[in-house]
């Protein structure tokens, strides 16, 4: 059993301090995933923080049934949270929070911010479920089965979302 699963065991047994290990082991991947779906770092951190609180609540209540791995389960909470946040933001006509953390200065981060801005601009017209599927496949490196597990849909539905997302991007490029 790896460190992450051991930490989950400890939280399930009432050792709340072990949740720090879960955060340490997963926060880089989850914030990066959140940023790629949300389009910026600050919104991603809000979504991932909320996801951690939900995960903690579920672990404390003994509601995590371990049918999927902890990593997949956390991915699912973040993806669902990010899709919901993007949808409600769009409904309210709000702009993304583009405030940059001062500790975030540096050449590598500057390049990452540029890549994130380009990604957000390129994918912003896609429906949120198509965008999430595309990010999980092409940026996070998940296969269709893993994406289906994270998104809670069939592999056929994932395939359909990916085909539609690519078709929409191709059509948009032809219009430009």
């Amino acid at each position: 059993m790896d460190t992450l699963e051991k930490a989950v065991d400890r939280v399930l047994n009432g050792d709340h301090s072990a949740f720090q290990q879960i955060v340490d082991a997963t926060s880089v991947r989850l914030v990066r995933l959140g940023a790629r779906i949300m389009g910026n770092q600050a919104d991603a951190e809000d979504v991932v923080q909320e996801a951690y609180v939900k995960a903690f609540r579920a672990l404390s209540a003994g509601e995590f049934d371990r049918r999927s791995s902890t990593a997949t389960w956390l991915y699912r909470i973040v993806v669902n949270g990010a899709i919901d946040a993007k949808r409600s933001r769009k409904r309210r006509g709000e702009q993304s929070d583009t405030q940059i953390d001062p500790s975030w200065d540096g050449a590598a981060f500057a390049e990452a911010r540029l890549a994130l801005a380009e990604l957000d601009d390129w994918l912003q017209e896609l429906p949120q479920d198509q965008r999430a599927a595309l990010v999980l496949q092409s940026l996070e490196g998940l296969n269709n089965g893993e994406i289906a597990e994270v998104m809670g849909v069939s592999e056929g539905a994932v395939e359909q979302r990916l085909v539609r997302a690519r078709a929409a991007l191709r059509q948009r490029r032809q219009q430009l």
Binding site: Q49, L114, E118, L119, R173
Partner: protein, 90 residues
């Protein structure tokens, strides 16, 4: 080069470009603060949680009190009936 390859190449470049993304320095502490707030119940929640544990005991005590009250009431009735009978005999 097909349109699909163009899209995948661009996605691959943006995946490499955004690989350096990291949570901000204060992120972990912020998360643990939120989690600890979740773990510590408020005064009202704590009182309700403690009170909930006492509910079965309180229910049993209430049932025993009702039984005792009914029994006392019956014995008082019996005593009154007995005293009436005594008065009639006299």
């Amino acid at each position: 080069m097909t349109d699909y390859e163009d899209i995948d190449q661009r996605l691959a470049r943006l995946a490499r470009g955004s690989e350096a993304l990291r949570p901000s320095a204060s992120f972990s502490a912020r998360v643990m603060r939120a989690v600890n707030e979740e773990a510590t119940p408020s005064l009202l929640e704590g009182a309700w949680f403690s009170a909930r544990r006492l509910l079965p005991v309180a229910a049993i005590a209430a049932a025993l009190a009702v039984i005792w009250a009914v029994q006392v009431d019956r014995s008082v009735d019996d005593e009154i009936a007995t005293s009436y009978a005594s008065v009639e005999l006299e």
